[in-house]
């Protein structure tokens, strides 16, 4: 197995991303986005695209940087550190990976547009309160040469901002089956597609999408009829790894703020970071973050080397990330004391994004069960 150590190129990418985000997307930007009621800063996303981030997983032939999933994870992690909001994971990771695997001329054009930041994709997947892609019940009924989509998708990340949607629909079979699922690639402003923005705790773009007899042509089927999950699963897996990486960054950001506070806050005439009770909790948190960082790096490496055998690595990363970020934000708020409860202080933003990210594309329980299955129990 290849080493989990960062290569020189990866370290340069991380340093560049960290430097850029510290200036261009500090946590204050998330606060400004929230206060101005916008899910993300389109100018920031344009800049990210100009740096090649939107094309991180896009082949060079379509104008992408083609740096791979480990690199995408590094970018996601750094974005998590400052809670930088963007459609990176939906569009540049999940949709780009899916479209790339589809390998059609139409998909190639879309990849170029994603890379240039001209086109934002959302992936409309889950329908219930938990991640369960095979439970897809949204129906695509044959209608003439095309299809008619009816049903509701929940928790569609960047669903309010996206110009196009990858939507998983049932064309055959029944809930729980992978066979009979078909993937459609349609414009988000298609008649009958109602997008209902949801005000979520992380102040990001999450929408409910109601498909009320939405028409789709046969050309808008991505991949094979009744076998769309095989294709989308690649994108979902890449997305899970990227969300896990983002959560590692969220954990790191919360940890950094908290240790900084421990070194500065004084009570009982002492810096509170000199109290052993707090030192041990902070040290334990650091240990958890270190261990999770290995699982995140591993997921990126495995996705780059053997993408069809990445299930265990990706679920391990997401399970660890969910547990670690949960600890980081809970300890973060608690160790900040009263100020941690105030909206004026940033630590609460970390807690909110952590909760949403832990849920998105499968929580700890979902992924721990995947690990167990892969490990033979």
């Amino acid at each position: 197995m290849t080493s989990l150590l960062e290569t020189e190129d990866e370290t340069m990418l991380r340093d560049a991303a960290r430097g850029f985000l510290a200036d261009a997307a500090p946590v204050a930007n998330l606060r400004a986005n929230r206060d101005q009621g916008r899910p993300f800063d389109t100018g920031l996303w344009r800049e990210m695209a100009q740096m090649g981030w939107a094309g991180v997983l896009v082949p060079e032939a379509q104008g992408g940087a083609d740096m791979g999933h480990r690199a995408a994870g590094i970018l996601a992690e750094e974005m998590g550190r400052t809670l930088a909001a963007s459609p990176f994971i939906s569009s540049a990771v999940m949709a780009a990976t899916t479209l790339r695997a589809a390998a059609s001329q139409q998909a190639e054009q879309a990849l170029t547009a994603i890379t240039e930041g001209r086109l934002i994709y959302a992936v409309a997947l889950d329908e219930g309160r938990k991640h369960a892609p095979l439970n897809t019940a949204l129906v695509a009924q044959k209608a003439g040469n095309g299809f008619r989509l009816t049903g509701t998708k929940a928790f569609v990340a960047d669903g309010g901002s996206a110009q196009r949607v990858l939507v998983l629909a049932r064309t055959a079979g029944s809930a729980g089956e992978a066979a009979g699922l078909t993937l459609f690639d349609i414009p988000a402003d298609r008649a009958g597609l109602h997008k209902m923005a949801r005000a979520t705790v992380d102040s990001r773009d999450h929408a409910q999408m109601v498909f009320d007899g939405v028409e789709a042509t046969g050309d808008e089927v991505l991949g094979t009829l009744d076998d769309g999950w095989a294709l989308l699963a690649r994108g979902v897996q890449a997305g899970q790894a990227a969300v896990a990486a983002e959560l590692l960054g969220v954990a790191g950001g919360a940890y950094g703020m908290t240790v900084g506070y421990l070194k500065e806050r004084k009570q009982f005439d002492r810096t509170i970071g000199s109290f052993q009770a707090l030192q041990h909790r902070a040290a334990h948190l650091w240990a958890e973050i270190e261990v999770t960082a290995s699982a995140i790096a591993n997921a990126g490496r495995v996705l780059d080397a053997t993408p069809t055998q990445a299930g265990l690595a990706v679920s391990l990363a997401k399970a660890r990330a969910a547990q670690t970020v949960d600890l980081a934000v809970r300890e973060g708020v608690q160790m900040h004391g009263g100020i941690g409860m105030t909206d004026a202080y940033d630590i609460g933003f970390y807690m909110k994004r952590a909760r949403v990210g832990s849920e998105w594309l499968g929580d700890y329980g979902y992924h721990a069960a995947q690990v167990a299955a892969a490990r033979g129990f």
Binding site: L4, H280, E290, V291, G376
Partner: protein, 396 residues
């Protein structure tokens, strides 16, 4: 890549060698403490197969795969050694020889010793002829290890050693001891310690085993009563490693090794199987939702921890020291191992509490794991090290 091809070829070669050199009865069995070959003058092999396997390994330098060939090793790279370990595990072949000489003394001498010291002490270690023990802790120097009081007085041509060590692993079966002794009582406590090599056969050295809660006695008290230690064992071969009064540097270096080792000890105990698979052999155990959830949690953590061990080893190999972060490996690995044994005990229920019941040595092993987070620095000391040295939190 040619590098990968070379490693693949090495894997084939080393697997073939293991299969030809290791007698078949030793293969395909889960590794347990009873299968370890420790070596030394007092060592008795359980059977001829163990001896055959050790001798074959010695001939190829494979008892110390990473050590230089001139000191009895095989001179393997880190990647090659990893492959060797993986193949041993895959074939369920026992390591041909284990010892504190290989784990602890070797790394210390390779880093701090003279050429003559290495030749004199490392070759017998690789051949399983001399068994070493570690004389660090004392009754008054546990977590506060630098407080060692065993003193060595300079008597011209020799040192006169007096004092007591405790938790000396297998001292009663060891031939030599590497010990921390105070050679300057007036210096600050970290600055007056030397790292001394002492023959356990010297008059005045006595040992007394300590019975533990597991019913076993892997640790001893070791007493030094006017023990004469020669200043030198030969040309350029002093009994003190490194400089006199600078032994704490070596102790710290070795503690890093020891911590990585103890932290990593949790791996492989299940013979390459997942915790869930082992528990699956117990009728109904995995039907219990609490057991299942715990098994999943521990499996997730164990897999991520194993990756972290490898990442840190790669980092050390790349010349970027791991340093104080090794405290994390020790802390995390030992706490994880205790959790794993708690779950195994719980799943095996009333059968598990029998000393010699259907689960063999599970009960003593479970009790033994409790020492993991104490020996080599307690979990609390590890967290202190992380907090102060890595997080740079202020002193109280």
């Amino acid at each position: 890549m040619p590098e990968t091809a070379a490693l693949d070829a090495f894997r084939t070669e080393i697997a073939d060698w293991i299969l030809s050199a290791c007698p078949a009865p030793l293969l395909g069995r889960a590794m347990g403490e009873d299968r370890i070959v420790w070596g030394g003058r007092k060592w008795q092999f359980q059977d001829d197969d163990q001896k055959t396997w050790m001798q074959a390994a010695i001939a190829r330098g494979m008892t110390a795969p990473r050590w230089p060939v001139e000191y009895g090793g095989a001179g393997l790279s880190r990647a090659e050694e990893k492959i060797y370990r993986e193949e041993l595990e895959r074939l369920q072949a026992p390591p041909p020889l284990e010892s504190f000489g290989l784990w602890m003394l070797g790394p210390a001498l390779l880093e701090f010793g003279t050429h003559a010291q290495k030749l004199a002490h490392l070759l017998p270690v690789t051949r399983g002829e001399i068994r070493w023990c570690q004389g660090y802790s004392e009754p008054g120097a546990g977590s506060d290890l630098a407080n060692v009081q065993t003193r060595a007085e300079d008597m011209g041509d020799h040192w006169l050693v007096n004092g007591q060590k405790i938790w000396t692993s297998y001292a009663d079966r060891a031939d030599w001891i590497f010990a921390l002794v105070r050679t300057d009582r007036d210096a600050p406590k970290h600055k007056g310690i030397s790292f001394m090599l002492i023959d356990m056969n010297s008059p005045g050295v006595t040992t007394r085993p300590i019975q533990l809660i597991s019913g076993k006695s892997p640790f001893c008290e070791t007493f030094f009563d006017n023990v004469k230690v020669p200043k030198s064992y030969g040309e350029d071969n002093p009994s003190v490693v490194g400089q006199v009064n600078r032994g704490w540097d070596i102790a710290k270096y070795l503690l890093t090794h020891e911590r990585e080792m103890i932290g990593g000890g949790a791996r492989g105990l299940l013979g390459g199987r997942s915790l869930g698979q082992v528990l699956g052999d117990l009728d109904g155990a995995m039907d219990d939702p609490v057991t299942r959830a715990e098994a999943m949690r521990i499996e997730v953590n164990a897999l991520a921890f194993a990756m972290t061990m490898e990442r840190y080893k790669d980092q050390a190999e790349a010349g970027r020291g791991v340093g104080n972060a090794s405290a994390m490996l020790k802390y995390y690995g030992t706490e994880l191992n205790k959790e794993r044994y708690e779950l195994l005990m719980s799943a095996a229920g009333s059968e598990a509490v029998e000393w010699d019941g259907p689960h063999g040595s599970l009960a003593p092993e479970w009790l033994r794991t409790k020492a993991n987070s104490i020996e080599g620095g307690t979990s609390e000391v590890m967290l202190d090290i992380i907090a102060k040295r890595v997080l740079e939190l202020p002193n109280s």
